[in-house]
């Protein structure tokens, strides 16, 4: 075989190996991560606050009354299918007001199997947390809840959550009238280095 032919064959080999190495080593998906703003609790575990600024973080409001639902032109099935279910969806921010995920909140006061309020908070780079809230607010005005399940980074954790609605905000943002805060306190299983 001529030197030209050998160079060509070597090129083919190099192309196969190079493409393989590139595909293997370069990640096809590289999710953006914000630094977690976590504080350590005195009795163990980590505390983290998720914020939802209203109305700017609101994606969906599904109410029994179709005309009260958001966004505009939403065809919400309403009372006929879902009873008095209140479904909401929001963007979720960290303590620095940077969007880090999305969340859904479902609540029903007259569900046949019992009233409920619950959250699913999805943080793309970390996982999802599923939170069940108490129906009655605490004397302090917030609502307590527990972590029912977590996925990926939250899979082995257990803990509690506080949901509070803040109206008197000291902010210069023109599109923020109120804020929902979810303050989580999660702890790893015994023996976990966390």
């Amino acid at each position: 075989m001529s030197r030209l032919g050998k160079t060509f064959i070597f090129g083919i080999f190099l192309g196969i190996v190079g493409a393989g190495a590139l595909t293997y080593t370069v990640p096809a998906v590289d999710l953006h991560r914000e630094a977690s703003l976590i504080s350590v609790q005195t009795n163990g575990g980590n505390a983290e606050t998720y914020r939802i600024d209203l109305p700017r973080d609101r994606i969906l409001v599904g109410l029994p009354a179709q005309e009260a639902s958001l966004p505009a032109e939403l065809k919400w099935p309403g009372e006929e299918v879902f009873g008095n279910l209140q479904a909401e969806m929001f963007k979720v921010r960290d303590r620095n007001d940077v969007v880090i995920g999305v969340a859904s909140r479902l609540a029903s006061a007259s569900e046949a199997t019992g009233p409920f309020i619950e959250w699913a908070v999805h943080l793309p780079a970390r996982g999802t947390v599923y939170l069940q809230m108490d129906l009655a607010p605490s004397p302090e005005g917030h609502r307590n809840g527990v972590l029912t399940a977590g996925t990926r980074d939250f899979e082995t954790l257990s803990g509690t959550v506080i949901e509070q609605f803040i109206t008197d905000l000291d902010t210069e943002e023109y599109d923020v009238d109120g804020r929902i805060e979810l303050i989580t306190a999660f702890i790893g299983p015994l023996g976990d280095e966390e």
Binding site: V29, V81, F82
Partner: protein, 230 residues
């Protein structure tokens, strides 16, 4: 110079051969038989549309070929959620009657490894079934077959579309048998842990508008105690 050109052509051909090998990899077939088929437990079968325009709400980063729905829904353009899609879907029972509400969060997975024919998506369903309760379904889906058999052929097609018959089990984990993990929340599902599998049936796709005729199905096993309540 001629050696350099020969080397470049060789490298291009080698890279193309590698890409073709990856695309036509005969060992990349996903299973089409549900791992739940051998389960003795009763199943809850939910069907839904996978066409974003037919859902109650669909949003993503606003840059994809798929239009968000309705028009004025907030888009997920922020860096941390730019690879995330959210769909709010009316779930139907096996007779096609409305059965509940499903909110599906889907984010591209960093575990994606195209060399292994894995285009992975982490997804979570937040589900409400009136008269039954609520639950969370956590799953890893593999969209490799969907890309290979629908999206790429549609782009190659002179008409920018694909028509055919496609059926795949999209769920690949996190369960050991390739099933999704289900956690009951309230009502009859309270305290329940079980498994689920999501399938996708497609008949038409447009490279310009996205899914045209597509349906999904979610099969959730109901442990004995829940079945008895039913």
């Amino acid at each position: 110079m001629k050696y350099f050109i020969s080397l470049l052509i060789g490298i291009s051909l080698g890279a193309s051969l590698f890409a073709a090998g990856m695309y036509f990899n005969p060992f990349a077939e996903q299973v089409t038989v549900s791992p739940l088929a051998v389960s003795d437990d009763e199943h809850l079968d939910l069907t839904f549309t996978s066409v974003p325009g037919e859902s109650i709400l669909y949003t993503d980063n606003g840059e994809s070929i798929i239009n968000t729905h309705p028009d004025r829904v907030a888009e997920l353009w922020e860096p941390a959620v730019v690879d995330t899609r959210v769909a709010v879907i009316l779930l139907n029972d096996s007779r096609g009657q409305p059965a509940g509400l499903g909110i599906k969060f889907s984010s591209d997975s960093e575990q994606t490894a195209l060399i292994n024919s894995q285009a992975l998506v982490n997804s979570a369903w937040h589900i409400y079934i009136p008269g039954e309760g609520t639950m969370l379904v956590d799953q890893i889906e593999n969209y490799w077959a969907y890309l290979r058999e629908i999206v790429i052929p549609a782009r190659w097609s002179s008409g920018d579309n694909w028509k055919g018959s496609f059926f795949r089990i999209m769920t690949q984990g996190p369960g050991a048998l390739g099933t999704a993990r289900v956690t009951g929340g309230t009502g009859n599902f309270s305290g329940m842990t079980s498994e689920a599998v999501e399938t996708l049936t497609a008949r038409a796709y447009s490279a310009i508008e996205g899914p045209v005729s597509m349906n999904g199905s979610l099969t959730i096993t109901l442990p004995q105690v829940i079945s008895e309540i039913e």
